[in-house]
């Protein structure tokens, strides 16, 4: 444990967001001090980790000074005012570069803030910068970033998951206590699982997509990353809620996630019905992942929950359906990158026509995985193939949603491992797209259904010494159940271990 003075850790970067917020509120530290500590940490470890694509040091310090001034003036501030945060580079930020990990947007400065970013700023959070990601969020390792991979703080030769590997790694490496990610097929939960952090995909429509550069509009959802379930809940509460600028935003009260996390920490799950998804285990799952998952399920019973096995027979087709629906939607969404209104333009020599310029721009600006998915989606949507591929995938989506609905008639939450394996070595799967896609096996069903899901660390796999995540899935707008169960598991395991799981990560080399 970090040394403490007056209840505040000496190293401000080791503190949870909740503890930092309390220290800020009581005046033990200033937002400028907290921000400076994180900027120093970023300088020290970024060379090794590469979690950020852009660090906005001056702007972060200016934001921190404003929070300190408002606090000194006695203004009413939000619960996370002055707490630093990192934002995935797929959310547009006014006056701050946004690349989506792609060459096609290199140097682009958006003219407006995404609603999520606007809410962060309004709540007084200090945006440290933009985090690395697979290009346009297509990938499960962050190796498809055009700006080089992010490394896993647990083992710098391994991937941090993806697509939001930068956000997860920044949190795991103590570069930021909180981060925003986006999750289309697991891009928050999967990186959380392999970096020993917490990540939640809110109910689809629970968090505004305005200003989130679209990958697959029917699946994309922004959500919180943090080192504890309670911290993730605090961030969830800041960014969630109806937004008139997003026509798919749900106009209903935000689920009581902060209260649920607090209740979970008390460790009583009596009366809760938990279903273990039979189809998300077995062949292809690493033994250490299954071992830690089985122990976590036993722990749920010890905490008072009743556990049963549940069958979701169509989940095994989730991956196939997802990799038709996603490319179809992305081939349409990414048509906007045409070299006309923003971003890269290649081949405009006054002779070439618009179509030629467009085709050269997209070849130069898009990476391999993006091109693969656009072509696959173009195929799946083309005349003569539409019914067999996109149409059939949409029907499988219905059946997966029905599996969830049937399961939630008998249980309150479903659980599975968050990922089939722990973090794999850089380069291992980058030339094998199908092997890469398998990392999303457990996380995809909730995206197709729209319900919320959260990943919480449940220990290290003995064979690799790397973190394993437990996934908790709930019905739409019951996000609080994910936080309740996640916090209970986290509290019990932290208590047994005597320290948070990230304290077991090796120290990073510092510059």
């Amino acid at each position: 444990m970090a040394e403490r003075v007056a209840g505040v850790p000496v190293d401000l970067t080791r503190s949870t967001a909740a503890a930092t917020a309390a220290a800020l509120a009581s005046g033990h530290v200033s937002a400028v001090e907290v921000t400076e500590a994180h900027l120093d940490r970023i300088s020290a470890v970024e060379g090794a980790v590469h979690a950020f694509l852009h660090v906005a040091a001056d702007r972060a310090l200016a934001a921190a000074r404003r929070v300190d001034a408002r606090r000194a003036a006695g203004d009413a501030l939000g619960p996370l005012a002055g707490v630093p945060i990192a934002v995935k580079d797929v959310l547009v930020t006014e006056g701050m570069p946004t690349t989506c990990g792609s060459r096609i947007l290199e140097g682009w400065i958006p003219p407006y803030d995404a609603t999520v970013v606007h809410r962060l700023r309004e709540a007084g959070l200090v945006v440290l910068g933009k985090t690395n990601m697979d290009e346009f969020a297509m990938g499960s390792s962050t190796e498809h970033s055009a700006y080089g991979p992010t490394r896993n703080p647990w083992d710098l030769e391994r991937v941090p998951g993806g697509s939001g590997g930068g956000s997860a790694a920044a949190v795991a490496a103590y570069e930021a206590p909180l981060a925003v990610g986006t999750d289309t097929g697991g891009s928050i939960r999967q990186p959380a699982a392999v970096t020993g952090t917490v990540g939640a995909k809110p109910t689809y429509g629970g968090v505004s997509r305005y200003g989130l550069v679209a990958l697959a509009s029917s699946l994309d959802q922004a959500g919180p990353c943090g080192r504890t379930v309670a911290d993730a809940a605090l961030l969830h509460a800041v960014i969630a809620g109806h937004d008139p600028l997003d026509s798919t935003s749900i106009d209903a009260p935000v689920p009581p996630v902060v209260a649920a996390a607090a209740r979970g920490c008390e460790g009583d799950l009596a009366g809760l019905r938990v279903g273990v998804v039979r189809e998300l285990s077995g062949e292809g799952y690493q033994p250490g992942v299954e071992q830690r998952f089985t122990e976590a399920v036993a722990l749920l019973t010890e905490l008072g929950a009743s556990v049963t096995e549940v069958s979701c027979p169509h989940f095994e087709y989730g991956l196939a359906a997802y990799y038709l629906i996603l490319p179809s939607e992305c081939s349409s969404n990414l048509a906007r990158f045409d070299g006309m209104r923003y971003g890269l333009r290649v081949g405009d020599d006054e002779v070439n026509g618009a179509e030629e310029v467009m085709a050269r721009t997209r070849e130069a600006g898009f990476g391999e995985e993006v091109i693969r998915r656009i072509i696959l989606g173009t195929y799946a949507l083309s005349a003569g193939y539409y019914e067999a591929y996109y149409g059939q995938a949409q029907k499988v989506r219905t059946l997966i949603a029905r599996d969830f609905a049937a399961a939630f008639r008998t249980v309150d939450v479903l659980v599975s491992p968050s990922t089939p394996v722990t973090a794999f070595p850089l380069g291992e799967r980058v030339d094998d797209p199908l092997a890469m896609y398998l990392n999303d096996l457990c996380t995809i069903p909730s995206n197709l259904d729209g319900g919320p899901a959260l990943s919480v660390p449940v220990g290290l796999a003995p064979e690799s010494g790397l973190p394993v995540g437990l996934q908790i899935m709930a019905p739409a707008m019951a996000d609080d159940r994910c936080y309740l169960v996640g916090a209970a598991v986290e509290a019990a395991l932290d208590d047994r271990r005597g320290h948070p799981i990230l304290a077991d990560a090796p120290a990073l080399p510092v510059a």
């Binding site: 991956l319 990799y323 209104r341 971003g343 467009m358 195929y379 591929y389 059939q392 499988v396 197709l448």
Partner: protein, 118 residues
Amino acid sequence: MPSQTGPSQGGPSRTRPTLSRAEVAHLARLARITLTDAELDRLVPQLDVILAAVARVGEVAAADIPPTSHALPLTNVLRPDVVRPSLPAAAALGGAPAVEDGRFRVPRILDDAEAADG
């Protein structure tokens, strides 16, 4: 994991879906992406493997199942019909590759023959 079973309805009648080099080149043209021969060499076998795997959706008997395009029941959302501030033109044009007279400058969209006809 590639399946040997093709989709159950519509589409290709072959037992295993395949994507030829010519088809990939055609799709790339439709998607407005220039591909070199070397890029096609890499992409064609990869796409073929992916397609065979995702074709597994065809194994599910779903003829009478309605498709789901979205997780939410979508309804049309309208806002009050009042004038609101919008991005200033300079900000909207700020990220453009080329600007002329306060507008986006784009390459010609007609070829010479079409332009002459017009």
